[in-house]
C-alpha cells in the first residue's frame, strides 16, 4: 500500500535528463504545461505525447514506475472523464440512453481532458524522478531569487521545501515500521468496515506524529549546532551552471511550444 506513494521520490541515474540543470528542468516543465493547455487537437496532443515519450525514453526511468504513481489518481481521472463525456453536447450524437447522450464532441473532450491530466502528472513525475530534492530546491531558489527584492524569504521557503521533500520517504519508512510493529501485536488494517479501519489507524498515527515532532526538534537542534542562520551570506558548494545540454533542451522546448502554438493558431 505505502509502496504506491512515489511522490517526491528520486530515482538516481546518469541520463542526459538527470544531468540537466534543475532550473532548465523547472522552466521546461512550465513550458510543457503551457503547451499542454494550448493543445486542442489530435495532432497537437500527438506532438506532446511524442515529446513526453521521448523524454521518458532518454531519462531511462522505467515507464512502469510512472504509471504506478498514477494509481491514486484513478478516481479523479474517471470522474473527469465521465463528467466531460456527458456534459459536453456538440457534434454528432453517438449513443443515447435515457437522459444521457454521448456526442462526438463530448467523447473528444473527455479523451482530451483525461490525456491532459495524465500527461501533466507524467511530466511532473519526470521532474521529481530525475532531480534530487536538493538540486530541485537549489533550482527553485535560484529562479525565485529576483523575488527577494520585494521581501519574499526565498531561501527560507526553499529550505522548508527541501526539508519537507526529504522527510516524505523518511516518514513513509517510519509509518511502515510502526505498522509492522502494530501488526505484530495483531492490529488489522485490511479488514473491517470503513469506521473500523479508520480506528485501526490510531495506533499508527499517534506514534507517527510523536516521532515527526521529535525528528523536527532534533533537526532544528542539529541545524543550530552547525550555526545555520538562514540565507544571509550563505555560499553554495554546488554552483549552478548552464551547459550545452541545457541550451539544446531550451531550443527543443521552444520548438515544441512554437509547433503547438502554430498548430492551435491554425485551429488544428
Amino acid at each position: 500500500m505505502l509502496k504506491d506513494i512515489t511522490l517526491g521520490q528520486y530515482f538516481p541515474g546518469n541520463s542526459p535528463i538527470h544531468r540537466l540543470d534543475p532550473r532548465t528542468k523547472l522552466i521546461m516543465l512550465v513550458v510543457y504545461i503551457v503547451a499542454l493547455f494550448m493543445a486542442g487537437s489530435w495532432i497537437s496532443y500527438g506532438v506532446m505525447l511524442v515529446f513526453l515519450v521521448a523524454v521518458v525514453k532518454i531519462s531511462t526511468i522505467p515507464p512502469k514506475s510512472i504509471i504506478r504513481g498514477m494509481k491514486p489518481l484513478v478516481m479523479i481521472l474517471v470522474f473527469t472523464g465521465v463528467l466531460n463525456l456527458f456534459f459536453t453536447q456538440d457534434g454528432r450524437v453517438l449513443v443515447e440512453f435515457g437522459i444521457f447522450t454521448v456526442t462526438t464532441g463530448g467523447l473528444k473532450r473527455a479523451v482530451f481532458m483525461v490525456a491532459r491530466i495524465l500527461m501533466l502528472i507524467a511530466g511532473t513525475f519526470l521532474l521529481t524522478y530525475t532531480t534530487s530534492p536538493i538540486s530541485l530546491t537549489d533550482g527553485l531558489e535560484s529562479l525565485m531569487n529576483p523575488l527577494k527584492k520585494i521581501g519574499v524569504p526565498v531561501h527560507e521557503l526553499s529550505m522548508m521545501m527541501c526539508i519537507a521533500l526529504r522527510f516524505i520517504p523518511i516518514l513513509i519508512e517510519e509509518t511502515d515500521k510502526i505498522m509492522s510493529a502494530q501488526k505484530a501485536r495483531g492490529a488489522d488494517f485490511e479488514n473491517g468496515s470503513l469506521m473500523e479501519r479508520a480506528k485501526a489507524l490510531i495506533p499508527v498515527l499517534v506514534p507517527l506524529f510523536i516521532s515527526a515532532f521529535r525528528r523536527a526538534d532534533e533537526l532544528a537542534t542539529a541545524m543550530e549546532c552547525r550555526c545555520y542562520q538562514g540565507g544571509e551570506g550563505r555560499t553554495k558548494m554546488k554552483l549552478l551552471h548552464y551547459h550545452r545540454n541545457d541550451m539544446t533542451a531550451f531550443c527543443l522546448g521552444a520548438g515544441v511550444i512554437a509547433l503547438v502554438g502554430v498548430l492551435s493558431a491554425f485551429g488544428l
Partner: protein, 287 residues
C-alpha cells in the same frame, strides 16, 4: 524433539523489479525447538531484521516456506494471523510504537486483538507487567510520562502479554545503560523459563549472547553463515572478524594468552575465565 518453528530455503527480495531491488535473504534454513535461547548476530544489513519478520508472517518469503508447529503459516489467512500471536516480535526501539493513554491499555492492545475476554486480558496484562517489573501504579500512568528504559519495558510487556511461544527481540537493550540492560535481559530469561518459550534475540553484544544463549545463528550477506553453540562459534574468531563481527573480550584475552604460550582453555564468559584461571598452576604464579 519436534521443532516449533522451522524455515526452509527462504529467500526474500525487496522491491523486486525496480532499480532498488535488493536480496535480503538468500536460501536460509533452520529449525528451533521449544525452550531454546537463540542469539542472532550479524553485521548491519546482513538480513537479521528481514529474517525476523519472516518468522511471524509480517513479510511473505519470495520463495521457501515458514512452518509453525509443522504448518505453513502462509497456507491460509487464519494461520498467518495465528502466527502473529504465537510468534511475538519486539522491534528495535519498541518504545516508539506506544500510543495508548495508559500503560495498562497499551499492554492490553495485543491481547485485545486476540479476542480474549476482559478477565483473561486483565490477568495477562498484570502478569506481563510483573515479568518486566512494572508496578501497579505505573500501569495507570501515561506511557509518555515514563523514562526511556521504562517505556522499553512497557513495549516488551505489550508483546509478552500475548504469551507467544516464540519471542523474538531485535536488539532489546540498544541505547540503555548497563543496569537497564541487565534488567531487561533478566526479564526475558525469566519469561523463557516460566513459559518454556523459545527466545530469539538479535544482539550486537557478543558478551550478552555468549552468556545467555545456547545457540547462535550468524548472518552474513543475506545468508546463514554459521549455526552452532557459542563455544563452537567463538573458536572461529578470524572468520567472525572478516564478517565485521567480533568475539567476546575475555575470549580475545585468552586467545592472546595462548599465543604467548600459556596452556589455557577457550573461554567465552567471565565465569568460565575465572574458573580457568583459578585452576591454572595453583593460582599463585598468575598475580
Amino acid at each position: 524433539m519436534k521443532p516449533i518453528l522451522e524455515i526452509k530455503n527462504v529467500t526474500y527480495i525487496y522491491s523486486a523489479g525496480t532499480p532498488f531491488e535488493h536480496k535480503a535473504l538468500d536460501d536460509v534454513s533452520f529449525a528451533v525447538s521449544r525452550g531454546e535461547f537463540i542469539g542472532i548476530i550479524g553485521h548491519t544489513g546482513s538480513g537479521k531484521s528481514t529474517l525476523m519478520q519472516q518468522l511471524n508472517g509480517l513479510l511473505k518469503p519470495t520463495s521457501g516456506t515458514v512452518l509453525l508447529d509443522g504448518q505453513d503459516i502462509w497456507a491460509d489467512k487464519k494461520l498467518t494471523r495465528q502466527a502473529r500471536f504465537r510468534v511475538g516480535l519486539v522491534f528495535q526501539y519498541p518504545e516508539y510504537q506506544l500510543f495508548e493513554e495508559t500503560v495498562y491499555k497499551d499492554i492490553a492492545f495485543g491481547p485485545k486483538n486476540m479476542g480474549l475476554d476482559e478477565q483473561e486480558i486483565d490477568r495477562r496484562v498484570r502478569e506481563a507487567a510483573g515479568f518486566v517489573g512494572l508496578t501497579d501504579q505505573q500501569l495507570e500512568v501515561s506511557p509518555f510520562d515514563l523514562s526511556g528504559g521504562q517505556k522499553r519495558r512497557v513495549a516488551i510487556a505489550g508483546v509478552i502479554a500475548m504469551e507467544p511461544e516464540v519471542l523474538i527481540l531485535d536488539e532489546p537493550t540498544a541505547g540503555l545503560d548497563p543496569v537497564g540492560r541487565a534488567e531487561i535481559l533478566g526479564n526475558i530469561e525469566q519469561y523463557r523459563k516460566a513459559k518454556n518459550a523459545t527466545v530469539m534475540m538479535v544482539s550486537h553484544s557478543m558478551e550478552d549472547v555468549a552468556r545467555l544463549t545456547d545457540r547462535l545463528l550468524v548472518m552474513n550477506g543475506a545468508r546463514l553463515a554459521m549455526d552452532a553453540a557459542p563455544a563452537e562459534i567463538f573458536t572461529h574468531a578470524e572468520q567472525l572478524v572478516e564478517m565485521g563481527l567480533n568475539i567476546p573480550q575475555v575470549t580475545q584475552v585468552f586467545l592472546h594468552l595462548r599465543k604467548m604460550g600459556l596452556d589455557v582453555p577457550n573461554v567465552y564468559t567471565i565465569d568460565q575465565a575465572v574458573k580457568a584461571l583459578k585452576g591454572f598452576g595453583g593460582g599463585a604464579n598468575i598475580c
